[in-house]
Amino acid sequence: MEDSTPSTVNLQPSTIWDALASVPDPEIPVVSITDMGMVRDVTVGDAGRVTVTFTPTFSGCPALHVIRESIEQAVRDLGVTDVEVRSTLTPPWTTDWINDDARERLRQYGIAPPAPTGEGQLIQLDAEPTRCPRCGSLNVRMTASFGPTLCKRMYVCDTCREPFEGFKSV
């Protein structure tokens, strides 16, 4: 997207990005929607119209409406009246976009961060290796391949005996 200078509102895209960085993921509140790489584009039009483009994590994610409304509200809180929130599927969201700082916060929260996705193996029968977020051991077992939300699965660590959630690599 080209860089457009707002004529009526003195608002830079970076200010909007900063505001969106404080919008939590509704299902994992220790990370924000920008940490997760869900916000793909922010533009400020000539008339001060702000357009935010985001991409869903999972197509059936029930939090999409909440995220959409939270984005709109965060931009309105900056004094913007004309806000458009768009969604896009391209490129499809990948856990590779979750930034390093957010991965560390996920780990401290008790969720194993996702492993690199390894593009080109879309249909694989074996799951990726996962490390216990508490003790760091790779001696873990998946106890359920689906978890409390679409983006996670359940594990137990055979070294420290802790059950934990792990992010799917998508």
Partner: protein, 263 residues
């Protein structure tokens, strides 16, 4: 059901648009009906983790239906909620495979395995569609479908190689479901033209890949026996007696509250 596919430069002719609308409806119908059958296990699955897993899978399939129907809407189709909740059994175009009652756990897992492998392979091929909005939808959905395949492949293996009882039930499920699974590869009217234009995947090629994949798993790995598939069978407009009561239940809330704006 809100994600809007991006606008593409690909121009479709009117017959192509009509055929694609039908194909998208057919795909969504299979997802919706199977999701409902999976949802019937909520609170009833053998263990809590599987209860949650099937609910997750159902949620993904509904998400895919939402993608297909949103794309159909941009091509001139109806509102996705109208399509899902206001068509009766005469208008649904799902396969009989997905409408059969949920049966036992082996039946549910074998059906889901046959369906998930077919869906994953079709989607993988559809990522190369020359119609960009469809390629985008497929690229999104195939990433989710791989988790279904991993899960159901493992369950079928566990059941087939488990006890004599679990093996008997798994083989019985496969014997009943196998002829119906072939219906997933029946083209819709006008599909050949879309395939020729590389808008839709070549269904015969996907069918061949699917047969190879499931044969390796079911026969070579799990020791199950594949029955013969019927050479001819009725189309997607022919349903069993099981679809009408399913729709009656699934659509009851929407039909009781036709003006509801918030669920």
């Amino acid at each position: 059901m809100t994600t809007t596919p991006s606008i593409s430069g690909t121009e479709l002719t009117d017959p192509q648009t009509q055929a694609l609308l039908l194909k998208l409806t057919v795909l969504a119908d299979d997802e919706i009906i199977l999701a409902h059958r999976d949802g019937e296990w909520t609170g009833h699955a053998p263990i809590l983790e599987e209860d949650i897993a099937l609910a997750n899978i159902a949620q993904d399939e509904l998400g895919h239906a939402g993608l297909y129907l949103s794309l159909a809407q941009t091509l001139g189709g109806s509102d996705p909620d109208r399509v899902a909740f206001w068509r009766g059994p005469d208008d649904y175009r799902n396969t009989r495979l997905v409408e059969l009652p949920k049966g036992d756990w082996a039946f549910t897992m074998v059906r889901q395995f046959l369906y998930d492998t077919a869906e994953a392979l079709w989607l993988e091929a559809a990522t190369r569609s020359t119609y960009a909005p469809l390629a985008e939808v497929a690229a999104k959905a195939v990433r989710e479908e791989k988790f279904h395949v991993q899960h159901t492949a493992l369950w079928v293996e566990r059941l087939a190689l488990g006890t004599p009882e679990s093996e008997r039930r798994t083989q019985a499920a496969l014997t009943e479901l196998w002829p119906h699974a072939a219906q997933l590869f029946q083209p819709v009217e006008g599909e050949a033209e879309l395939t020729a234009a590389d808008i839709l995947p070549d269904l015969n090629a996907v069918h061949a890949r699917w047969t190879d994949l499931v044969t390796r798993h079911l026969v070579d790995k799990c020791g199950l026996t594949l029955p013969d598939a019927p050479t001819t069978q009725p189309g997607r407009d022919t349903h069993t007696e099981h679809l009408a009561p399913l729709l009656e239940e699934m659509q009851s809330v929407a039909r009781q509250h036709p003006d509801a704006e918030v669920w």
